[in-house]
């Protein structure tokens, strides 16, 4: 067989996919970059400049004033959501793994079930449940614990972002539990049994056998969760307040602003999100490489 027939077929079958992704994704990203440097904004002065970057990172305008507090707020939400989800996901997976056999199928179905609810709907569900005239407030009121809706604590659309955090935690615990469970189930049970025979206590087995086994997957999955929470729009848009806002909400508001100059600033903010997410993804891949 000559070399060419070995080489050309793969690219032929890849060509449509590469063309579509290259054009749609590649060109879009380039246009976005160009926009952030002041090109293509539709305004008169279309020249290469770093105005938008300066305005966002060090400006005194609306973008500059809110960017860093939004950045901090995003870090807080993504950080705490990821941390709690990782710990929760780990323990749910360990618990489920200890209960193979009867009923375990239903338990995994329960975890997968959360896939059926897009984040958008999940956030709406929390809104109906936790708002001040929501179901929970009604239940408390009927038990006589509170009298009026305003006595119910502000849990969604609050300044600390508790509603957003609750939304992400309740969605990501099953997500991470499934990842950890996949690792635990692919491993032979023997390690645990060996450790137990050698006299390891339950805590020691967890600490020296289970955790090292699942840690790379759990970390890489957690980083995925962090990247997702950091860059997702729907949940903070529905469950957030006017101030402080998460970065994606801020970015979209500037981008859709009728003032065309602020579009470039919106683009810069979303590029800042992208940079953070790409760094996180690179670390996540490093962990994943360690697994296999």
């Amino acid at each position: 067989m000559n070399k060419q027939s070995n080489f050309s077929p793969p690219w032929l079958s890849l060509a449509p996919a590469i063309a579509i992704i290259g054009l749609l994704f590649g060109v879009s990203v380039l246009y976005g970059l160009a926009q952030s440097f002041g090109f293509l904004t539709g305004t008169e002065q279309e020249a290469l400049n770093l105005d938008a970057y300066r305005n966002v990172f060090a400006g005194q305008g609306p973008a500059g004033r809110e960017f860093w507090s939004s950045f901090g707020f995003s870090l807080w939400i993504a950080g705490i959501s990821t941390f709690v989800s990782a710990i929760g996901g780990f323990f749910v997976a360990v618990w489920l793994n200890g209960r193979r056999g009867r009923g375990s199928r239903g338990d995994t179905l329960a975890l997968n079930w959360n896939l059926a609810f897009p984040h958008l709907v999940w956030a709406i569900g929390l809104l109906l449940l936790f708002s001040q005239s929501g179901l929970l407030a009604r239940i408390l009121a009927s038990m006589g614990i509170i009298q009026t809706p305003s006595q119910f604590p502000v849990l969604v659309r609050d300044r600390l972002g508790i509603g957003i955090i609750v939304d992400y935690i309740s969605k990501e615990i099953p997500f991470l539990a499934l990842i950890v469970l996949a690792v635990l189930r692919s491993q032979a049970e023997n390690f645990e049994v060996v450790a137990e025979n050698l006299g390891a206590s339950r805590w020691q087995r967890l600490r020296y056998v289970t955790i090292p086994q699942v840690l790379p997957s759990l970390l890489s999955g957690s980083l995925l969760v962090f990247a997702f929470v950091f860059s997702a729009y729907e949940v903070p848009a529905l469950l957030g307040v006017r101030y402080p806002r998460m970065l994606p909400v801020l970015a979209l508001e500037f981008f859709t602003n009728p003032d065309l100059n602020s579009r470039a600033e919106g683009m810069v903010i979303s590029l800042a999100i992208t940079v953070v997410v790409m760094i996180i993804a690179a670390i996540s891949i490093k962990f994943e490489k360690k697994i296999g």
């Binding site: 079958s13 749609l24 897009p118 984040h119 970015a251 992208t274």
Partner: protein
């Protein structure tokens, strides 16, 4: 003690399973539900009847179904040959192709959508069905490629050679051997591509510009409108396909211990 703990954990697990549907159900069928009543005083199907007699909702439903169908079918057709090559062949440049497909899964839809917004304005695709469909391909196509290439990584080409040796035509080999072997995986990949498109909000907003009204767009505006029973009824309509898909594919999802690492 341990038994009680297990029962408690399991109770919460199944509560999570049922509670959201129950919650939406109670709100969607409620009428004149005053604080602090725990249950509505009157039950009604009015919110649903309102939805189905509202041309905007029916239009949104049809738009959503149409777009998601085209997107998932097109993704499957384009992803199939690419995934087969990625899964079965080792060739120079494979890493490059892999990276190109991987990048859209990392770069947030927000950034892609903003750039695409300007691109499509220039191409006159903004606000059109075709534009929205093309934008949805950015998340669905890489997802389908990776899911299918995982499928092909465990695929044995020798079955095809055997069919050819026995005198089957290329066409017949494809339909009777290849397609049958990968069919279950193909269906699951297609269903999830459908769901990713179905629940897409940001890209539809940025490309459709309020002209292409899918269900997520209607849902978002319903939330700012604020009638809980309308919101709940619309939510139920919106999650019907995902709930069905998960119920149908639940067995498949756990078979290989694989988790769907895609969020939507």
């Amino acid at each position: 003690m341990k038994k009680i703990l297990n029962a408690v954990i399991r109770f919460f697990l199944y509560l999570v399973l049922i509670a959201p549907l129950l919650l939406f159900g109670v709100y969607a069928f409620s009428e004149r539900w005053f604080f602090p009543d725990v249950l509505p005083s009157t039950w009604t199907t009015a919110p649903f009847l309102r939805l189905f007699s509202d041309p905007k909702t029916v239009g949104g439903l049809l738009t959503s179904i149409g777009i998601a169908l085209v997107v998932s079918l097109f993704s499957l057709i384009v992803a199939f040959p690419a995934a087969r090559t990625l899964g079965l062949r080792r060739f120079p440049g494979r890493q490059f192709a892999w990276l190109l497909f991987f990048l859209p899964t990392v770069v947030p839809p927000l950034a892609v959508g903003m750039g695409m917004n300007i691109l499509f304005l220039r191409l006159d695709l903004a606000g059109s069905f075709v534009g929205v469909i093309l934008s949805h391909l950015v998340p669905t196509l890489p997802y389908t490629i990776f899911t299918l290439s995982g499928l092909f990584a465990n695929y044995d080409e020798n079955y095809e050679y055997q069919a050819i040796v026995l005198g089957a035509s290329k066409r017949r080999t494809f339909f009777n051997v290849t397609l049958r072997l990968v069919f279950p995986g193909l269906i699951v990949a297609g269903l999830f591509a459908f769901l990713i498109s179905w629940s897409q909000y940001l890209l539809t907003l940025l490309i459709g510009g309020g002209k292409v009204l899918t269900l997520p767009m209607l849902l978002f505006s319903a939330v700012s409108g604020g009638n809980p029973s309308t919101i709940a009824a619309l939510s139920l309509l919106f999650i019907a396909p995902p709930v069905l898909v998960i119920a149908l594919t639940a067995r498949h999802l756990n078979q290989h211990g694989n988790a769907i690492k895609e969020q939507y």
